[in-house]
């Protein structure tokens, strides 16, 4: 069972590399039962969208 600390790191790495099957499964399991980590994982994906939009916003100006 992953700790929250491990899950948060794996959630971040999952955006930068392909997780191994075991890692991906352990992470999914953890996120399914831990609302704090699930929030953080979503927020990391949101940050990615937000950074891309920084430049798109310049387009309008």
């Amino acid at each position: 069972m992953l700790t929250c600390k491990e899950a948060a790191r794996l959630a971040s790495q999952g955006l930068d590399r392909k997780l191994g099957l075991g890692e991906a499964f352990a992470l999914r399991l953890h996120l399914a039962i831990c609302s704090g980590c699930a929030s953080v994982a979503k927020q990391m994906e949101f940050l990615r969208r937000a950074i891309v939009r920084l430049d798109a916003r310049d387009d309008q100006s």
């Binding site: 929250c4 949101f46 920084l54």
Partner: protein, 183 residues
């Protein structure tokens, strides 16, 4: 030709903002843009109007920015950021959150708000230099981690730690300065 030059010049301000987000240094950003514009003017025939000019220029600029980052990493290596203890402080000894992170209600709505991006830029400016550089290469330039590791001369593991720290610091900063205030 004169027309092409004028079109390229019109993109300068946009390109400068783009470069500055990554390099966090006005002079370095201007150098990268200057190099990109020179390269672009010499390569008009390869553009041939087949794609969006801004997209094409941004592609050239990305290479020039990576060159700058590489040069900077070689000539003036950044001191390591303060140790990651502050993020470990988010967890107790058993690896549980000391304070459970809050969910953000409909975060994508923030992307419609000008003021949100002002806060985001402020939060980015507060990141430690190394974490910021690595994170922005990943999310802003869209580099793969092995490329980032190579240019910065760090191991993949360290690279992932730096990006992780940047993400955690940004979410904390946005929680404190945006989402925590609205929900």
């Amino acid at each position: 030709m004169a027309d092409f030059r004028a079109q390229v010049e019109r993109e300068r301000a946009y390109l400068l903002r783009f470069a500055q987000r990554q390099l966090r240094d006005r002079d370095a950003a201007e150098d990268a843009v200057q190099e990109a514009l020179l390269a672009a003017l010499g390569a008009e025939s390869s553009f041939g109007g087949r794609s969006n000019l801004r997209t094409w220029l941004t592609g050239i600029l990305k290479h020039k920015i990576v060159d700058q980052v590489r040069r900077a990493a070689r000539e003036a290596p950044l001191a390591s950021d303060a140790d990651g203890e502050e993020f470990d402080a988010l967890f107790d000894a058993r690896g549980h959150w000391r304070e459970t992170p809050a969910a953000w209600a409909d975060p994508d709505r923030a992307l419609q708000e000008q003021q949100f991006f002002v806060k985001l830029e402020e939060c980015l400016a507060k990141l430690p230099a190394k974490a910021a550089r690595t994170f922005m290469m990943r999310e802003h330039l869209g580099c793969e981690t092995d490329e980032i590791c190579k240019e910065l001369g760090v191991t993949p593991t360290h690279c992932w730690v730096l990006i992780y720290r940047a993400r955690m610091a940004l979410r904390e900063c946005l929680q404190a300065n945006w989402f925590g205030k609205r929900c």
